[in-house]
Subunit: 426 residues, 2 copies
């Protein structure tokens, strides 16, 4: 396709999505859940056929010299497909959110005013490599009564096409429009530029991928973006606190997994407990090979820990999201300095205070300007499933519309409903 | 100022606002309400002094040949100032919204998860002519615990400066940072371009003014915009309906005031009641000099109405926001055609169905994709005060974040709060 054709093609997808969105908005809960269960069945029935399409992507990826972990992420194994099928069934079992009428109250004029939850309309999702995101996005879109346009990575194009065909078959079986879930069939990069610049058709864009992709999309989009940038999360060990709890939780926050965005990248310790606490957590980190980038005070207190990999921290370290066995460590005077440090250096994702002091806990919760604020627990809990949202569309690092882990509600909007009996305005 | 100086100046305002926002976020309800009551007092105490500054704007406007209504909008009369003072006092009496913790529930891991309402941070407001918007924006900002940067029209610069001085005095009296409300002191247009492109300092932009201003800002902003474009509102008279109610409500929706965005610009009538209803509403419109732009069927049914100003409607008429004594009129087969017509031609602001049919009412509420949907009442009710919001920041024609009339909540955000007792993720 040349650029003109890509533009025309993307516009067609947009128009078709908008038409389908109107039908999805009035679909009954039973119909949407029927489509989700049909999709689960089709995924299980087509494990072998999907393996054939998937193999073409895997061969191409191997031939192109992609790394083994990258190739692994492309794989549609029976296990991956079963997880997708179960996800669809779980969504089908969740309560319906569309049409809920809330807060209906009579006003002095006599009219009754409330708000109704409705689908947002059309969302575009742009994602890299993992083809199972096609099913995740499609199923969230169906449950929430939206239409979506999906643009996956070129490495997974054959797998994505095969999955999208199953989604459209499931929609047809339930009597829903197949344009409710459309996959961009071209790998032309121009299609992304078009997709994010059609406010007449697309209501919101959700990118999933590397920071470079998300920054580019945020910069160029002409529609709202639910975006997730970095997670420079902090754990602050307050004075007074339960040091056993602090060692256990800080360890978990840093080392349970190094790659997630909700892992703690920076440890702040109140001066009053630093001499007791730092050697203990330092020994844990030393045993796990976690490099500690320390301010001078922490460096001194950790000096005697056997096998500790200690490095003096630079100013840049306080901003860093390592996603690796590295943590920055700073001794602070107390809760005031901790809050000020976090609000300055954090990426406003997730921060935790470990404390016995009620006033400090309340101040931390109120004053730390991050999408998740926690007391006496691990930052690793910042997650849609752990928060009970049932499904997670993404994690937003913005304050507008949705903040932090975003569930199905993030794909909906509230419109005003006014019920009258002939009232007029005077 | 040259462009470089304007950029530097605007950045300084941004940094100062961000610093003040952190202090405002932790201010107590009592402190914020004290500032609002101080502002009300200062406005009343300075009626004479404000008249002097205001006179300079009025003279300049008259000399520049501005129309009498435009000059009138600039005027800070004692009545206008008293209304502003009462607005501040009303806000001071409203319940506090910041810090509310909602939905705290225990999850299977043991953590308790809820959401806390917090200020959004810094908002920028860009507005034209009326200087009283300075007080409205400042008081909403104080109540909601935000900081704001205000950019008024150049015609009102002296009045705005004088009002901003009083706002800062009120903030100081209450012990709050005066940078919590800053007025852009230069009338250089470049400052607007800067203000809407500082995502590091400004969280949301709220423009108030003509469609041209709002379109420009939406196009160029690098931060979210709560914007209000046009209001092409519809009233649909269904079959069956109470014709007396329909005449009264349709009359109110169109003629109670012609200029507001929530006035009905288009009338749809079900074929089954058209022959009875149209001559009656036609006579009302004829008596008030309202021009009727009709489809062929309506034209015929209205032909016998004495003094009616009838014009055949063009395709463009169905899209039009007249803000004038003009209405477009179309006969439709029934509720299906009415919903389809509205979803195609409407600006998605406010639409009403007048009906006795419960199923039609429910379908209209659910399927019409507008920010306000109404049954048996006048579209003129689409308003923050009529909806019981206490104060209105603006009306949003978007679906993202806030939709329709936006109250103080539109200037807030929900962050996640997690309370634990040492839980770790496994």
């Amino acid at each position: 396709m040349n650029a003109l054709n890509v533009a025309e093609y993307t516009q067609t997808l947009g128009l078709q999505a908008k038409t389908a969105a109107a039908q999805m908005a009035r679909a009954s809960a039973a119909t949407k859940n029927k489509a989700l269960r049909a999709l689960a069945r089709l995924l299980r029935d087509n494990v072998a056929a999907l393996a054939v399409d998937n193999a073409r992507d895997l061969e191409r990826a191997t031939a192109a010299g992609l790394s083994a972990p990258m190739v692994d992420r492309l794989k549609l194994s029976p296990q991956v497909l079963e997880t997708c099928a179960q996800g669809c069934e779980q969504l089908a079992s969740m309560p319906e959110l569309i049409g809920e009428l809330q807060g209906l109250k009579q006003q002095p004029s006599g009219i009754r005013v409330g708000q109704m939850r409705v689908p947002i309309g059309v969302f575009g999702m742009i994602f890299e490599s993992r083809p199972n995101v096609t099913i995740e996005a499609a199923s969230l879109s169906i449950k929430s009564g939206n239409a979506c346009i999906l643009r996956g990575g070129s490495e997974a194009i054959e797998s994505n096409k095969a999955l999208a065909r199953l989604v459209q078959q499931a929609l047809r079986e339930a009597g829903l429009p197949e344009d409710a879930v459309q996959l961009v069939q071209t790998t032309d990069r121009e299609a992304v530029g078009q997709l994010i610049a059609m406010p007449q058709y697309v209501d919101v864009i959700i990118p999933r991928g590397g920071k470079g992709l998300i920054e580019r999309i945020s910069r160029e989009a002409k529609v709202p973006v639910i975006k997730h940038l970095d997670g420079n999360c902090h754990t602050y060990v307050d004075d007074p606190c339960d040091l056993d709890l602090a060692v256990r939780v800080t360890d978990n926050a840093k080392t349970q997994k190094y790659s997630p965005c909700n892992a703690s990248e920076s440890l702040l310790v109140a001066r009053g407990v630093a001499a007791d606490f730092l050697p203990r957590i330092g020994a844990v980190f030393a045993a796990k090979g976690v490099e500690m980038r320390c301010d001078p005070e922490a460096l001194q207190l950790l000096g005697a820990v056997e096998g500790a990999r200690l490095v003096p921290a630079t100013e840049q370290d306080w901003f860093e999201e390592y996603l690796a066995p590295i943590i920055s460590i700073k001794v602070v005077a107390g809760v005031d300095e901790a809050i000020a440090h976090i609000n300055h250096y954090s990426s406003h994702h997730t921060e935790a205070i470990l404390t016995r002091d009620h006033v400090h806990a309340q101040r931390f919760l109120r004053e730390v300007d991050s999408s998740s604020v926690m007391v006496n627990t691990s930052t690793r809990f910042a997650d849609g499933f752990e928060y009970g949202l049932g499904a997670e569309i993404g994690i937003s690092t913005d304050k507008f519309h949705a903040r932090g882990p975003v569930g199905l509600e993030g794909l909906t909007s509230l419109k005003w409903v006014v019920l009258g009996e002939g009232e007029v305005r005077s």
